[in-house]
């Protein structure tokens, strides 16, 4: 019984230290960070695909995984948080076209993949900045 309570006390102490000391991120920061790095990965994947560093098949599969990774991100971003509405609006403006690229990446020479990469990079940088601040 003592050992059990000791363990729980230790747990609570740890939790309070971790949350109190600000050594964890807020939910918003985490969502923004993850989304930012997902877009960065997507941009690199698209770039490599067109630089012949990976096959189109590899890129296509990667984008399927990015889609599932990013699903529900817009809801998570708009959840109540300490972020001001102007920043949030700015992020969502960049997020929307980027997620469209994720759902329909240009994997041939017949479409404008360069602008897609730019869209992804813009969204990535903004989200990463918001996540780290």
């Amino acid at each position: 019984m003592w050992r059990k309570s000791g363990a729980w006390i230790g747990l609570l102490l740890l939790l309070s230290v971790l949350t109190g000391c600000n050594v964890t991120e807020s939910a918003f920061a985490r969502t923004a960070s993850n989304a930012g790095s997902a877009f960065a990965a997507a941009a690199t994947t698209l770039t490599y695909a067109h630089e012949d560093k990976i096959t189109y098949a590899y890129a296509a599969s990667s984008f399927v995984n990015f889609q599932s990774e990013l699903s529900g991100t817009d809801q998570a971003l708009t959840a109540p948080s300490a972020v001001d509405t102007r920043t949030l609006h700015h992020l969502l403006t960049l997020y929307k076209p980027a997620i469209q690229v994720i759902n329909a990446p240009c994997l041939s020479s017949a479409c404008n993949w360069r602008s897609q990469i730019e869209v992804l990079n813009r969204a990535s940088q903004a989200l990463l900045k918001a996540g780290n601040s």
């Binding site: 747990l11 790095s37 990976i54 599969s61 990667s62 599932s68």
Partner: protein, 408 residues
């Protein structure tokens, strides 16, 4: 004499190729991408622990002719046996789903077909191998293919080696891309994914499948120490690749495909496909090991016939349990959770249950009834106690960290 050296070489090689799995790939990649070289110590510590544990369990089985599961049931009774059994069933069903997913993702990277579609076929393929393939093929096949992980070292060399600015992160991790909680979470996940109990059940059963005896003690020692030691090279190489390539690009390696980009940078398409091959081989090997480890555990604990060199009807209950467990894992996988996330989660669950899975060691390895004059020396016992303390610490923090970080 020559035959013994051949077995030793094969043992080392299979340990190298078999070290990585979905869990260790996932944790190594994220560790490098988020914290530079700051988590190499965790991989080294976990490798040291697993070297010792594997040597011990191999020695135990070679001398006593009893597997780990046999000994837990016989020495601690049925009620205690239910504890590691239950924890194994929960943790390994998640891990098996993640491993099957890892194979499916590897194939999807080759073919472009969605891994969700490939998943059931991979599960079937794994079942067929476990159902009919002899033990040697299961142990050696994927592991030999897994040697392709050594290409990660070539990747590091091709990228110009470890850049000087990364070296300080060895002892002073970069906390820009992740919080302290993330860091601690990865420590727990690295330990859980490296010191996986399934490895011990599988290795111990394998020692019986191959009829190890006192004469196999040298083979056991070399396989455990040299094999596991070199095996961790693949894991550390992945971490370094993540640190060199992914971190500067702000990529966190949250999906398995992203990690392959680190090989695509130096070697182009060949590099990306080398990564996919490594993922395929290591996850396939691990899937078989996890599946069989659980089946061995149940069959041995309940005293049934077991063995991969027997026809299915000769070990009916063992093979039935194996089939049912695979179906359960497949059902979990078909829910569609990303295999990398599932692997990370499974690793933390394993970390949570580590003390239960490892505590029998201290008593068993000192029991002369089983080991005769081959019981643990004082140094080894101290090492076991340290490992158990580490396991308790990790178990304590793994669940809160999983909740706080939302799974890394």
């Amino acid at each position: 004499m020559k035959k013994q050296w051949l077995s030793i070489a094969l043992g080392v090689v299979t340990a190298i190729g078999g070290f990585l799995d979905a869990g260790t790939v996932a944790t190594a990649g994220e560790a490098g991408a988020k914290f530079g070289l700051g988590l190499i110590w965790a991989i080294l510590a976990a490798t040291l622990a697993v070297m010792l544990l594997v040597e011990m369990v191999g020695r135990f089985t070679a001398v006593s002719k009893k597997t780990y599961a046999d000994a837990i049931r016989e020495d601690f009774g049925f009620r205690f046996y239910l504890l590691p059994l239950t924890s194994e069933l929960i943790a390994e069903s998640l891990l098996l789903a993640a491993e099957i997913g890892g194979v499916a993702i590897a194939l999807s990277l080759f073919t472009g077909i969605s891994w969700h579609t490939l998943f059931p076929f991979v599960a079937l393929f794994i079942w067929i191998l476990a159902w009919r393939a002899p033990f040697d093929l299961i142990e050696n096949g994927p592991a030999l293919l897994g040697l392709v992980t050594l290409s990660f070292l070539a990747g590091i060399v091709a990228l110009g080696g470890i850049p000087a600015h990364l070296l300080p992160t060895l002892w002073h991790p970069n906390f820009q891309r992740g919080s302290v909680a993330d860091y601690l979470y990865l420590v727990a996940a690295i330990i859980g994914s490296t010191i996986s109990p399934y490895l011990l059940y599988f290795y111990s059963s394998g020692a019986r499948e191959e009829r190890w005896s006192r004469r196999s003690l040298v083979l056991n020692r070399v396989t455990a120490i040299v094999g596991m030691g070199f095996g961790s090279i693949g894991s550390m190489a992945l971490l370094v690749l993540g640190a060199i390539v992914l971190q500067p690009l702000q990529i966190s390696s949250n999906t398995l495909g992203e990690l392959g980009l680190a090989m695509a940078k130096p070697f182009g398409i060949t590099g990306s496909l080398l990564f996919a091959s490594a993922l395929f081989a290591t996850c396939l090997g691990a899937a078989l090991e996890v599946l069989l480890a659980v089946s061995y555990n149940i069959a041995q604990g309940f005293g049934w016939e077991w063995g991969e060199n027997k026809k299915p009807v000769e070990a009916a209950r063992f093979n039935l349990v194996m089939t049912i467990f695979l179906l359960i894992a497949a059902a979990i996988g078909l829910i569609g959770i990303d295999p990398l996330q599932l692997a990370l989660f499974a690793s933390t669950v394993i970390a949570l249950f580590l003390p239960i899975s490892l505590s029998p060691f201290l008593i068993l390895m000192n029991d002369p009834q089983y080991l005769g004059n081959k019981t643990n020396g004082r140094f080894t016992n101290i090492a076991v106690i340290c490992i158990l303390l580490l396991a308790f610490l990790v178990a304590l923090v793994s669940l809160p960290l999983e909740i706080i970080t939302g799974g890394g």
